[in-house]
């Protein structure tokens, strides 16, 4: 058949990513045959430069990973010329190479995309669903794709986040094994334009990782401060309990000093005591003698 649906996705990242993110990016590139790679972008340039990069590579979709502070990973999904874009915070990343992911699939086979019913209920989720389908779905008859459908991507909304899983279809009766990778997306904002433009939606449940860390630090500090306060209160209590009593002049009236003892100076060394190994032995011997006497008397 002829390849009609010309979708190309550019997958690249900024500088300062760690090994896990790098592996995730590589995994996505292997799983999606309609993807293209690019070199790392410098943080100095602004985001709309990405649009130009995409145009140069002749791509109409983009996945951009941005790493901040070597801790937080943000992911941009965008439709490059004019379409909407979305920014996510990525958490709980597990890559293809983890040994617990035992499944395998053909490289470049087309995935089945499975969504939660929640995606149809809310408008922002509906928009995200469309974005996911267009980005993650491999076009039919793509030259690098395999004709079989042997794995399925699941997108589920739980706990206000989007969970991504990738399963291999083993049997026709839907027995599945996880291939990986897996990650969790926390939606931050949806923009009308690509990497910019007016904000269409802002996630009220989103809390930036900085804020999260700050809250943790504050709570720890609050605990510590509370302990210190309690200690101070205790100190004051202890001090406060001492009642000052006025000096009573009649107290010293009946005091009489003791008689002075005559000073004895020893000129001769005192006799040394006999070293007794067993203090009780002497007593034992005495007792036995007494018993004997008692017996002979009786």
């Amino acid at each position: 058949g002829k390849w009609k649906n010309k979708e190309r996705v550019l997958i690249f990242s900024s500088r300062g990513i760690n090994f896990r993110t790098r592996h995730l990016m590589q995994d996505l590139r292997t799983l999606m045959p309609h993807s293209k790679a690019d070199t790392k972008m410098d943080r100095k340039d602004q985001l709309f430069v990405i649009n130009e990069v995409c145009e140069m590579k002749n791509c109409n979709k983009c996945i951009f990973f941005e790493a901040k502070k070597k801790q937080d990973l943000y992911m941009w999904l965008s439709n490059t010329p004019q379409g909407p874009s979305a920014k996510f915070l990525v958490q709980n990343v597990h890559t293809l190479a983890e040994l617990k992911m035992t499944g395998n699939c053909l490289r470049g086979s087309r995935p089945l995309l499975s969504f939660d019913p929640i995606f149809d209920r809310e408008p922002h989720y509906a928009l995200l669903k469309e974005l996911f389908i267009q980005i993650f779905g491999t076009p039919q008859y793509h030259p690098k794709s395999q004709p079989f459908v042997d794995h399925v991507f699941t997108f589920t909304v739980t706990d206000e986040r989007i969970w991504f899983r990738n399963y291999q279809i083993i049997e026709e009766d839907a027995s599945l094994v996880e291939i990986g990778p897996r990650f969790v997306l926390n939606l931050i904002k949806i923009f009308q334009g690509s990497f910019g433009g007016p904000t269409l939606y802002e996630n009220p449940h989103y809390q930036s990782p900085n804020m999260h860390r700050r809250l943790i630090r504050l709570s720890v500090a609050a605990k510590f401060r509370e302990k210190q306060q309690v200690k101070e209160v205790q100190k004051i209590k202890k001090k406060g309990s001492k009642v000052l009593v006025e000096e009573d002049p009649t107290e010293v009236v009946f005091e009489t000093p003791a008689e002075e003892k005559p000073v004895e100076i020893q000129l001769v060394k005192p006799e040394s005591k006999p070293i007794v190994k067993d203090k009780k032995k002497l007593r034992k011997i005495q007792r036995k003698k007494q018993k004997k006497l008692f017996r002979t008397e009786g």
């Binding site: 040994l99 995309l113 499975s114 408008p123 928009l127 079989f148 589920t156």
Partner: protein
């Protein structure tokens, strides 16, 4: 909100389903779940429950999509002779397989160790039982031999393997009178403490022994009998008072054999 919907309307692509391959379904009903309401509120903290819900969602999607694909003549099963590059290299799969195998082996080893420990305990118990049984048999055998030597039982049944306690023969008439013979408790005590053994209480003065004047001989008591030459007809149940001489005893033994 309106902006979202407008944007979505603009952005949406009208493609055939076969291009998109998307399925929106809830998870398959879990046959093990107690009530349906528990399914709706999946606790995200409970890892197992969460992952199972994802799994079931994928299953639902697969169950719906595969027939549709088959109708559209899109192949889903890879034929066995179709070799192509896989997402994970063969080396990686080998590593995975090794890991799984080692885990299984470790589990089996621990199972075996547990079983061995249990068996050793059981074996020790069995050994103790066997030793005790042997000692008991030895004791019984010795008792039987002793009884035979004393002439109580003139049967050589103890040479056979199966030995039933035939202690009831002591009181021959008594055993014929009642089938049970001596009381079951009495029999048990006889068997346990034997006939060559219990001598401790045999010479005490009990009521019965005090009132028992069977061994009274007035002539002996009043020193009026003919002396050791003759003996009053006593008879008695058994001539145990008068022990026959060596020759007589041997004759008796030979006669019994």
């Amino acid at each position: 909100q309106d902006g979202l919907k407008q944007c979505l309307a603009e952005f949406r692509q009208q493609l055939a389903w076969v291009e998109r391959l998307d399925v929106t379904l809830g998870p398959v009903a879990d046959p093990l779940s107690q009530n349906a309401s528990a399914n709706d509120a999946v606790d995200p903290e409970n890892d197992f429950q969460r992952e199972m819900s994802f799994y079931r969602q994928a299953q639902a999607a697969v169950l719906e999509a595969l027939p549709r694909l088959r109708k559209l003549q899109v192949p889903t099963r890879r034929p066995d002779d179709y070799f192509a590059e896989m997402a994970k290299s063969d080396q990686q799969m080998q590593k995975i397989r090794q890991k799984l195998k080692s885990k299984q082996e470790a589990m089996e080893r621990s199972e075996k160790a547990k079983q061995l420990r249990a068996m050793r305990k059981y074996g020790k118990k069995v050994q103790v039982e066997v030793l005790q049984r042997r000692q008991k048999e030895k004791k019984n055998m010795l008792n039987a031999v002793k009884k035979y030597q004393k002439g109580l039982s003139d049967k050589l049944d103890f040479l056979d393997e199966e030995q039933t306690s035939s202690q009831g023969n002591k009181k021959g008439n008594a055993s014929q009178r009642t089938k049970k013979g001596p009381n079951a408790k009495r029999r048990y005590k006889n068997q346990k403490f034997g006939f060559g053994g219990k001598k401790k209480g045999s010479k005490w003065n009990t009521k019965e022994s005090f009132n028992d004047v069977s061994s009274f001989q007035s002539k002996v008591a009043h020193n009026k009998g003919p002396g050791k030459g003759g003996r009053g007809g006593k008879g008695g149940k058994k001539a145990l008072n008068k022990r026959p001489g060596k020759r007589a005893r041997q004759k008796m033994k030979n006669r019994a054999r």
